[in-house]
Every structure is written in structure tokens, then in C-alpha cells.
């Protein structure tokens, strides 16, 4: 076999890596020290972009919004997905039907889900408010109230993704040896005790994965608030990616926008690393 053959085969990857990974990472570092609107020449501005970032009220607002999103999204996602997976992990007729149904929103574009939920969350005619009215509860201004809109989007994101996590939890639950439960039964353990002391520790890796994927998802949030609220009301649903997008394509602040992207990326890597560390200590 000729010696160069392996290199020919992997050359597309190296080219791709150079153009779409290595170059952009290096260039984004360069951009953070410059002011540039793409058309006129780049201007070196030292640490101005970083300075601006730390005093930028909207940047901190975007981080705060992401945290509020995650605060609702992560626990809700874990509880609902785990509950549904527990229900499915028994002798149940129609397994395929239930899985298929839960999975429906996962495969559809976020654009579709957002347009759909815009109607479900409508103040006057939305299904959620009709349900509340039927229970003689007051209606909620899901998308109009700055204190609520992000949580409404978190609810929608949970509905969209939970089917995937049901499947992942099911995979996790099926790795728990049946003997553990049998032994617990002999000791007279209750269903809750079995869940708390056998199931939960065994599926810890899956929970960790859900937390990490949701965290990354929260920082990647874009199209949902873009369509649903355009970041409003009062910037309460402005997301990290939306702010990068705005700075770059509304104001043409390429340098500052790249600084935001760079910083958010570091933040994501940092948060995920902390989460990983925490899980390793737990075990």
C-alpha cells in the first residue's frame, strides 16, 4: 500500500479543520482586539471591546436571561423526561406509539414549534389561557409580561426536546440490573426508596448529560425568541446568540460581536467543566 493514501483520505478533514475551525478560532481572537464594520479597514482598539463587554448592560441581561431559562428548563426537562421514561419502562402496550408521539416535536424545526406555540400561548385565544379560564383561574400574559416570557419559552423548549431525553433515560434505566430491584423487594423497600437509592444513582450519567446538553442549548437559543418575541418585552428574552447576531448584522460591530461570541464560548466551556467536575466528585 502506498504511504500517502491515508493522507489523501483524511485531507478533506484537514482542509475543513483549517478553514472552518482553526482559522475562525484564531481570527476571532484577533477580532476581539479590533473595531471593524467589514467595509472599512480594521482598527486596532486594544482591550476596548473587553472593557465595553463588562459594562454592557445588555450583555449581562443576555446571561441573566439564559440563567433564568435554564433554571426552569433543566429541572422541568429532567422531571418530565424521567417520569415518562419510568412509566414506559414497564410492560406497557403501545410502547412504539408513545415513544413516537413524544418524539414528534424533536424532529420538527424550531421555527415550526415556535409559530405553533405563539398561538398556544396567545392571551385571548391561546389553549393554555383557555384551560386556565375553564378552571376559573386568571389568564396569564405569557409573552407580554417581561417576568414571564422567558419561562414560557423554557416551557416550549422543554416540550420540544423532552422526547429525546425520554429515550436517553430509557436507555439508562435499562442498564440497571433487575437483581438490584429484586434484592430491594426482599428487604421490603418502597417504590420511592427503590427509585431514590437504586435508580437515581445508576442513571446519574444520563442526568449529567441532560444538564450539559440543556446548558449548551440555553446558550444556543436563537430562533425561538427571535420569532416569538424578538427578544422582548424589555429585552427579557434577549439570548446570547441573538445579541451576537444583533451586534454583527444590525450594527455591523464585527469586532465587538466576535468578542461576545468568544466570551460566551468560554463561559459555556467553563460551566460544562464545572458541571463535569461536580459529577465526578459526587461519584
Amino acid at each position: 500500500m502506498k504511504k500517502q493514501i491515508p493522507y489523501w483520505l483524511v485531507s478533506p478533514y484537514l482542509l475543513y479543520f483549517a478553514v472552518f475551525v482553526a482559522f475562525p478560532v484564531a481570527f476571532s481572537v484577533v477580532l476581539t482586539f479590533h473595531s471593524w464594520n467589514i467595509i472599512s479597514p480594521m482598527k486596532f482598539v486594544g482591550l476596548d471591546n473587553y472593557q465595553r463587554l463588562f459594562s454592557d448592560r445588555l450583555f449581562w441581561q443576555a446571561i441573566y436571561n439564559t440563567l433564568r431559562f435554564l433554571l426552569v428548563h433543566i429541572p422541568l426537562q429532567i422531571v418530565v423526561a424521567l417520569a415518562l421514561a419510568e412509566f414506559l419502562n414497564q410492560k406497557i402496550r403501545g410502547q412504539a406509539f408513545f415513544r413516537g408521539a413524544f418524539f414528534l416535536p424533536v424532529i420538527v424545526s424550531g421555527v415550526v414549534v415556535t409559530i405553533l406555540w405563539q398561538q398556544l400561548l396567545g392571551f385571548n385565544a391561546g389553549i393554555l389561557n383557555r384551560g386556565l379560564t375553564a378552571l376559573s383561574l386568571p389568564r396569564v400574559a405569557w409573552l407580554e409580561e417581561p417576568g414571564i416570557a422567558m419561562y414560557a419559552i423554557a416551557l416550549m423548549a422543554t416540550w420540544k426536546n423532552v422526547g429525546l431525553y425520554v429515550i436517553l433515560f430509557l436507555v439508562g434505566l435499562q442498564t440497571v440490573p433487575v437483581q438490584y430491584y429484586e434484592a430491594a423487594d426482599m428487604e421490603g423497600a418502597t417504590a420511592w426508596q427503590k427509585f431514590r437509592y437504586i435508580t437515581l444513582p445508576m442513571i446519574n450519567p444520563t442526568i449529567f448529560m441532560v444538564v450539559v446538553l440543556s446548558t449548551i442549548g440555553g446558550f444556543s437559543l436563537f430562533i425561538e425568541p427571535y420569532i416569538m418575541t424578538e427578544g422582548g418585552p424589555l429585552n427579557s428574552t434577549l439570548s446570547a446568540v441573538m445579541y451576537i447576531y444583533k451586534q454583527a448584522f444590525q450594527y455591523y460591530h464585527m469586532g465587538y460581536s466576535a468578542t461576545l461570541g468568544f466570551f460566551f464560548a468560554l463561559l459555556i466551556l467553563g460551566v460544562v467543566a464545572i458541571q463535569k467536575r461536580y459529577v465526578e466528585q459526587e461519584n
Binding site: F20, I92, W117
Partner: protein
């Protein structure tokens, strides 16, 4: 207890299915009828659909989406198989390094590359072209890893026999080995096609010209840009047309979709 479990599961299933049924029925209802929560259209009409096509070139966007998704998926399969094969079955200096580069690429948040990649597109003159929609996606790290794993599981005898017959490496990959890893090919096809079909952010950045837009972008701009004239039915009809193709494919390949998505989740 058992009955309660079924009741809860059924309720959950309904909460995922009903909104889609409502969406389709609302898209076929008259504007006054949309407010109702029935399963069947109220005041049956296709005027919402005809209005969408009058206001935006959605047919063109559909073909653009299809073209971009098909070409890119094809290239992801070809290039992914080549790289995955080399990593799994050939020995060469720097192999581990390439593996680490792939892992690095997968952990890198896209927020950092977004703006520089846009600038690359501008400098290459690819803004408003299919190149911008296709080229940045033709190599996929997850696809490479899945191919690597699948090729590694095949017996060496298969490759040795082909070499004795005088097959070149490309023929070994695509003619001898690929037919043995059809499930992996299917998984990568589904993940790539679905991801591209649903992608909205990147097209919004690199495409301004309506004749090159893909469906998610066009429906998004239609929805937020005011061209739907606050007519709910029209907006919903546009969303239905974006969802329908992937829903139809899902009905036939449901199991494969679930398995593919699960394997991509477990990889991370």
C-alpha cells in the same frame, strides 16, 4: 395503578400530538374559524395556502432546501466514510492527532466561529450562493466518529480479500465495506438531512436574496417580517409546509429517527 399509568401516558402523548393536529386543521380553516379548538377545520378553505404562495416564493425555497440538504448529506457520507475508514483501518503518523482535532471540533461552541465564518463567506464571495449553505457543512465530526466506529467493527478478512482481488482503497470503502454498515449510513443520513432541513440561523446570516433562501429562513422572515399581515392562518400554513416533509419521512422511518437521535445524544 396500571390504569393510572396508561391514563398519564395517553395524556402526555395527546399533549404532543394534539398541537400538530390543531395546526394542520387551523391552516385549513377560515380566519374566523381558527379560534376554535376542534380537530376538524372550521369553514374549510385552502385560501391560507394560496395566499402564502402569492406572497412568498415558497416553492422555490422548498426546492432550495431539498437541493442543499441532499447535496450536503451526500458529501457528508462520502467524505465522512473516507476519513472514518482511514482512522479506523489504516495506520499512519498523525492519526491520533486527527482524532483529537475531531474531538476538539465537537466540543467547540459554535458561538466562537459564527462571526469569523461569516467573514470567510464574505471574502470568498459566497454570500447569497449555495456554496455558503453547503460547503461549511460537508464535513461533520459526528459522522466521522460514527463511521470510524462502524468500520472498526468489521472483520479484517473482508479488506484483505478485496486487496488480493486488487481493489483500491476507495473501492474497498464504497463497494465492499459500506454495504455492511447500512444502519450507520442511515443514521448519518437522517441526522444530517434533518439538521440541514431545520437549520435557520446560518441561512439568516449568509443569504439575503430571496431566490437562494431555504424554507426555515423564508418562513421565519415571513413570520416576523409582517408580510403575513398578522393573518394567523397564513402564518400557520407556512409552518405546516415547513413541517410536513420531515413529518412524512418520520412516519415511515420512525424507529430509525429515534435510534439516530439517541445515538447522537449519547455521543456528546
Amino acid at each position: 395503578m396500571k390504569l393510572l399509568r396508561y391514563a398519564l401516558l395517553l395524556l402526555a402523548a395527546l399533549s404532543f400530538i394534539y398541537p400538530f393536529v390543531w395546526m394542520i386543521s387551523a391552516s385549513l380553516s377560515s380566519e374566523q374559524g381558527i379560534g376554535s379548538l376542534t380537530l376538524l377545520p372550521v369553514g374549510l378553505t385552502i385560501s391560507n395556502y394560496t395566499t402564502v404562495f402569492e406572497r412568498i416564493p415558497l416553492g422555490r425555497a422548498f426546492l432550495n432546501s431539498l437541493f442543499v440538504a441532499l447535496v450536503t448529506t451526500g458529501l457528508v457520507l462520502v467524505l465522512g466514510a473516507m476519513v472514518g475508514y482511514a482512522l479506523a483501518r489504516l495506520r499512519f503518523r498523525g492519526r491520533d492527532l486527527i482524532f483529537y482535532l475531531i474531538i476538539f471540533t465537537m466540543t467547540l461552541p459554535f458561538q466562537i466561529t459564527l462571526i469569523p465564518n461569516y467573514i470567510t463567506m464574505v471574502k470568498l464571495g459566497w454570500v447569497d450562493t449555495y456554496f455558503a449553505l453547503i460547503v461549511p457543512f460537508v464535513m461533520n465530526s459526528l459522522a466521522v466518529l460514527l463511521f470510524r466506529q462502524a468500520f472498526a467493527s468489521l472483520p479484517q478478512a473482508l479488506i484483505d480479500a478485496a486487496r488480493i482481488d486488487g481493489c483500491g482503497e476507495l473501492r474497498i470503502i464504497f463497494q465492499i465495506l459500506l454495504p455492511n454498515i447500512v444502519p450507520t449510513v442511515l443514521t448519518i443520513t437522517i441526522l444530517t438531512f434533518m439538521g440541514l432541513w431545520n437549520e435557520a440561523l446560518w441561512p439568516l446570516i449568509v443569504i439575503r436574496d430571496e431566490s437562494t433562501m431555504t424554507m426555515p429562513q423564508m418562513v421565519t422572515l415571513f413570520s416576523v417580517g409582517g408580510r403575513a399581515d398578522a393573518q394567523l392562518g397564513v402564518k400557520i400554513a407556512a409552518a405546516v409546509m415547513l413541517a410536513l416533509p420531515i413529518l412524512v419521512v418520520y412516519l415511515f422511518f420512525q424507529k430509525h429517527f429515534i435510534r439516530s437521535m439517541a445515538s447522537s445524544g449519547l455521543k456528546d
